[in-house]
């Protein structure tokens, strides 16, 4: 597997990166750590002529603004993110999700922005097509899916681990375009279309993630199910945030996001509603977990059947609730 030839451009700022991106149009791609992009280039799945690299640009360490909200630079590596004390204190959920990605080596190269903007995956798609699966599938601009041959759609899954965590945390993304800078709820970054997973366009750069950190009682948990426990994309993941009333027993609001079993991260709205206003209990967790499964419709993928993923998702979601409930603490800085 060889990396095809390309031109490598090193902008001196994010603004310049955005400008260059727009200038080169569809010939160009952004690259940060390259851990998602380079393998795809080696497979011949994408052939940019120009790579605009964000790697050389310094990443600002995480900061807390006067509202108490956490700002994380999208250019930060996952390794730095996972070991940031500020992030750990404010949003242990994000630290955990970042730490669950791939391996130590990859976390040292891979960035948060790249993680959130990674491509969808499928075992038919993510390989070289010189003699295997030569006829293009939907994702290679063809008109078929090998996985579900009678299907009319693509079944590639979106496997970012940080996305479900950040969506459950209510994060928003700062998008830099040549002429504007805009703020977007992170869940709106995703189209749910496996052929074009992101809503942002070619000239746009994801520069920052802002995470609101309300002064309230909160319990969070992130579960990632894999067979090997490392160097592995999730079979499924689920990120749960439980915001509690001051009594610590009634759930004021819940956010539940499921990863890796659909074309994008999936918010489980029905589950969230069913949790809100309720007293936490084992029974409630079980009921809501079932609801979450019923509204997510997991894609079969990478050798896991839909039936298994449903069963496993129910267990992992219930466990996430229990874990979150055990970890309910007051946000640091809250006078109590």
């Amino acid at each position: 597997m060889r990396l095809p030839k390309f031109e490598h451009v090193q902008p001196s700022s994010r603004e310049e990166a955005s400008r260059l991106l727009q200038e080169h149009g569809s010939r160009a791609r952004l690259v940060s750590g390259g851990t998602d992009l380079y393998p795809r280039m080696k497979y011949g799945l994408t052939r940019p002529d120009v790579l605009i690299s964000l790697k050389g640009l310094p990443a600002t360490p995480p900061t807390v603004d006067p509202n108490g909200d956490l700002h994380v630079d999208a250019l930060m590596t996952l390794a730095d993110l996972a070991r940031s004390q500020t992030v750990l204190e404010k949003t242990p959920l994000l630290s955990e999700a970042a730490l669950s990605v791939a391996s130590n080596q990859i976390r040292h190269m891979g960035t948060l922005g790249g993680n959130l903007c990674q491509e969808n995956r499928c075992p038919y798609y993510n390989q070289t097509h010189t003699f295997q699966f030569v006829e293009p599938c939907f994702k290679r601009n063809g008109d078929q899916c090998y996985l579900i041959p009678k299907g009319k759609k693509c079944w590639a899954v979106f496997s970012s681990d940080t996305a479900p965590a950040l969506i459950s945390l209510g994060a928003s993304a700062t998008i830099l375009a040549p002429k504007e800078r805009r703020q977007l709820p992170l869940e709106n970054l995703y189209t749910g279309d496996p052929l074009k997973p992101l809503t942002i366009s070619d000239g746009e750069v994801l520069t920052e993630i802002i995470i609101p950190c309300p002064l309230s009682l909160r319990g969070t948990a992130f579960m990632k199910f894999t067979l090997r426990g490392g160097m592995e994309y999730a079979a499924l993941s689920v990120a749960v945030v439980l915001d509690m009333e001051n009594d610590g027993v009634l759930c004021r609001a819940a956010r539940i996001t499921v990863g890796s079993v659909g074309a994008g991260p999936i918010r489980a709205g029905k589950g969230e509603n069913a949790m809100a206003g309720q007293r936490l209990s084992k029974n409630l967790f079980q009921e809501v977990a079932q609801l979450v499964v019923s509204e997510t419709h997991p894609f079969p993928h990478h050798g896991y059947s839909a039936a298994y993923l449903r069963a496993c998702l129910e267990v992992e979601t219930r466990r996430a609730f229990s874990l979150a409930a055990e970890q309910i603490t007051r946000n640091p800085g809250d006078p109590g």
């Binding site: 597997m1 060889r2 030839k5 075992p123 038919y124 993510n126 390989q127 070289t128 010189t130 003699f131 295997q132 699966f133 030569v134 090998y146 199910f225 067979l227 090997r228 426990g229 490392g230 160097m231 592995e232 994309y233 990478h302 050798g303 896991y304 059947s305 039936a307 298994y308 449903r310 069963a311 496993c312 267990v315 992992e316």
Partner: protein, 778 residues
């Protein structure tokens, strides 16, 4: 003579350790030769198709392309792992007229660099006419199935695509089952796994002026490769030299002749320049040879007390598009049944069946893990039905020292009973077994279980090149050089061979230089793939060492005017016992020998072979004939934890009680055990090559899940010593590198059952299957 051992049996660090851990060891991919070209292979995108036309004209015009070969450039000689009158070779070195699997080589290119070579491949235009293909082995057997090859003429049943058949039996199977109090039938099936050698396949071939082909290739033994290259290239053996670089693992996957080896050689012959071909990991996953999945049907009859009275097997090997080792594994599958337990009435049928999948090959244990998984799982089911415990039923049927197997092999000092007892005792098996099934729901979701599995494995057999021969020569300074054809593929072959030399000559390890695995300069060796290195090559080295020692002693006796019995070897000197100043150094002895023995610089030569006195290897068709001279036995206990909600299981602890005769190097033996335990747990829980219609779905380390350090289990090793090494005498040590992936796999399956009551009939033991077994999948 005194038999104090200073080297054999010691935990001596491996000889190749420092050069490997400091990154100085050169592997085939590291080799750069002046003017070297890069080769690449064009592969079939079809599982079955006619080749109508190959047009290389555009590729030939590409700047930097130096040669392109297709089957027209070959001499048209087929080759195969097995090449006998019954099973004539069936593989063209490059596809001719027809392709039979996705990944089959159709053409190859040599170019100035890899980019040009790859571009050239894309410019070769091949017209195919797709043909019907078959992938499921039982479909392939049906009359009227798409024909990969015509069925074997000697197999008279109306079955398609039969590559070969093995039949064996003894006693009277009907009477046997009639005598049984309980009979049960089960079907087990194994899955496709790859070897996971970390060093990719690579070859550098250089055809030199004067007509000599020099080949450096990552392999498990150069002599087999030389034979196949000479045959397919039409060169005399003497014109082909295959030699080693360091090898980063093989596990059975680097034995056969591969396209990259043949093509690199032929491209070099065409261009007169060295050619390197390196397989990408993706190619290895998609187009190279993985292990052999088996379907195993067993019918077993027992007495109420657990005594086996009859056993009948039908085994189907899911072969690929060429025979490969497919007809070997159906022979071996029989062999891996007969060693462990006595079965008075027995019938066996094994089929190798062609499909349009890539060909398969040997994989560590070569059929043994699959067979032991089946036999040992069924044995536990029988024991449960009869109300006897798993240990008792094994002890009742276990082979004992001195028993003669149905093929005439002797198990000699078999330590199986002791292995079972020690493994059980060490793990408190009796106390733990059956506990989980009485667990209460309040215990959370984790259940722990314990299980046992047994294996017996041969120590070398007769497959070309059949024997090992070595030369030990003394150097002027009193050090020695060992010449051996054996190839160290990471298992520590060179280290243990040096320990034997060191022991026979009482010479420090540092004073032994090894020249190994070179068809030109080293004598022939069986290769690192039939579990015979320590026994067969080891004995050959011992014989050579003895000859050198005797020469040293005889000159010393003459010069020191002492009798042979009074002489001792120590610190590179020969002493008269009790008179330490009365001595001659090895250096002096070498020069005395040259002076007084007509110039003999002291050279020892040794050769060895297993089943000496038997002219031929056993029949693959009927299993008749002796197979091996030495059998290793082992009992392995697994403790697992299973999450009854997610279905996920993991191995917590593995205990291996093994009769390896005696360990030449205990550290290396333990390394083999630990490696086999982690390989087996990958087999059990994680690894699977997923395929659809002959194409591979997970061709990367990422999606093919080999265990990492986090998944490894605690592995404990108990030596059951049944042999001893005596200086100057033949020994019968036993293999340690293959059998122990087997018992532990069976033990894991039995432990999962013990934990959650789910009997698994197919590998791998995925969370999905376990949840299904628990009735929790909707």
């Amino acid at each position: 003579m005194e038999n104090k051992l200073d080297y054999v049996g010691q935990r001596i660090p491996r000889k190749d350790g420092p050069v490997k851990v400091t990154g100085r060891a050169k592997y085939t991919v590291d080799v750069q030769l002046p003017g070297m070209l890069v080769g690449r292979i064009l592969r079939s995108p079809h599982p079955h198709a006619k080749i109508l036309n190959i047009d290389v004209s555009r590729a030939e015009r590409l700047k930097g392309v130096k040669a392109i070969i297709t089957s027209d450039d070959t001499i048209g000689v087929k080759h195969a792992f097995v090449d006998t009158p019954r099973y004539p070779a069936d593989e063209p070195p490059i596809a001719k007229d027809r392709v039979l699997f996705v990944g089959e080589a159709v053409a190859a290119v040599a170019a100035t660099d890899a980019d040009v070579a790859e571009e050239a491949l894309s410019l070769i235009k091949v017209d195919y006419e797709p043909l019907p293909a078959v992938f499921d082995v039982e479909e392939a057997m049906q009359p009227g199935a798409p024909e990969v090859h015509t069925s074997h003429p000697k197999v008279k049943e109306p079955l398609s695509n039969i590559a070969g058949k093995t039949e064996s039996g003894w006693g009277d199977i009907k009477t046997g089952f009639a005598q049984a109090d309980y009979v049960r039938e089960d079907r087990f099936e194994s899955h496709l796994r790859t070897h996971g050698y970390l060093e990719p396949q690579a070859t550098v071939a250089s055809y030199e002026p004067g007509g000599k082909l020099n080949v450096l290739t990552s392999s498990q033994g150069p002599f087999f490769k030389r034979a196949k290259l000479a045959q397919t290239l039409g060169l005399p053996f003497s014109r082909v030299r295959v030699h080693k670089a360091y090898v980063g693992g093989g596990f059975g996957g680097k034995i056969d002749l591969f396209y990259h080896e043949f093509c690199a050689a032929l491209l070099s012959m065409k261009t007169g320049r060295p050619v390197k071909i390196e397989a990408s990991r993706e190619e290895i996953f998609t187009a190279y040879r993985h292990g052999e999945p088996l379907i195993i049907e067993i019918k077993t009859g027992v007495k109420n007390d657990g005594t086996l009275v009859a056993q009948q097997f039908r085994v189907i090997n899911k072969s690929g598009a060429y025979r490969g080792t497919g007809v070997v594994v159906i022979f071996l599958a029989w062999g891996f049944i007969i060693g462990a337990y006595r079965v008075p009435n027995f019938k066996y049928e094994g089929y190798a069946v062609y499909t349009n999948n890539p060909p398969r090959t040997a994989q560590r244990g070569h059929g043994c893990p699959q067979m032991r998984f089946a036999v040992e799982s069924q044995l536990d089911m029988i024991a449960e039905k009869l109300g006897i415990d798993p240990l008792e039923i094994r002890l009742k049927n276990a082979r004992q020292a001195g028993e003669i197997l149905p093929n005439g092999d002797n198990v000699y000092n078999c330590g199986l009973t002791e292995c079972i007892e020690k493994a059980a005792e060490h793990t408190e098996f009796k106390k733990k077994y059956g506990q989980a099934r009485s667990a209460s729901p309040s215990m959370g979701s984790i259940r722990r279980g314990i299980g046992i599995g047994v294996s017996a494995y041969i120590t070398g057999s007769l497959i070309y090149p059949n024997s090992s021969s070595t030369v030990i020569k003394m150097n002027d300074d009193g050090t020695v050089t060992l010449l051996t054809g054996a190839l160290d593929i990471g298992q520590g072959a060179e280290t243990i061979l040096c320990q034997i030399v060191a022991e026979e000559l009482k010479l420090p390890m540092e004073d032994i230089e090894v020249i190994a695995a070179d068809t030109e300069t080293t004598p022939v060796d069986i290769g690192s793939w039939i579990s015979g290195n320590a026994f067969v090559t080891g004995n050959a080295v011992r014989v050579a060492g003895t000859e050198v020692r005797e020469k040293l002693l005889s000159i010393a006796a003459e010069e020191l005017e002492a009798s042979l019995e009074d002489l001792v070897l120590k610190d590179k000197c020969v002493y008269v016992a009790g008179s330490p100043s009365h001595k001659l150094t090895y250096q002096q002895l070498v020069s005395l020998s040259i002076q007084k023995r007509d110039g003999d610089p002291i050279i020892g030569e040794g050769h060895w072979r297993t089943v000496r006195g038997e002219p031929y290897h056993p029949s693959l068709a009927t299993t008749k004939g002796r197979w091996s001279d030495s059998y290793a036995f082992g009992a392995q206990v697994a403790e697992v934890e299973v999450d009854i909600e997610t279905g996920q299981a993991r191995l917590i602890r593995a205990v291996t009680a093994h009769d390896c005769g005696f360990p030449i190097n205990p550290t290396l033996v333990e390394g083999q055990m630990d490696g086999q335990v982690s390989m087996a747990l990958g087999h059990a829980f994680m690894e699977e090559v997923l395929m659809k219609e002959g194409r591979t779905l997970n061709p990367s380390w990422l999606d093919y899940r080999m265990p990492t350090i986090h998944n490894t289990a605690k592995s404990e090793v108990i030596d059951v010593i049944t042999e001893r090494y005596e200086i100057g005498r033949p020994y019968r040590t036993k293999e340690v590198g293959e059998g122990y992936v087997s018992g532990i796999l069976a033990a894991i399956a039995n432990a999962v059952y013990d934990a959650v009551g789910v009997r698994l009939y197919t590998t791998p033991f995925t969370p999905e299957k376990i949840l299904q077994g628990l009735g929790k999948l909707k």
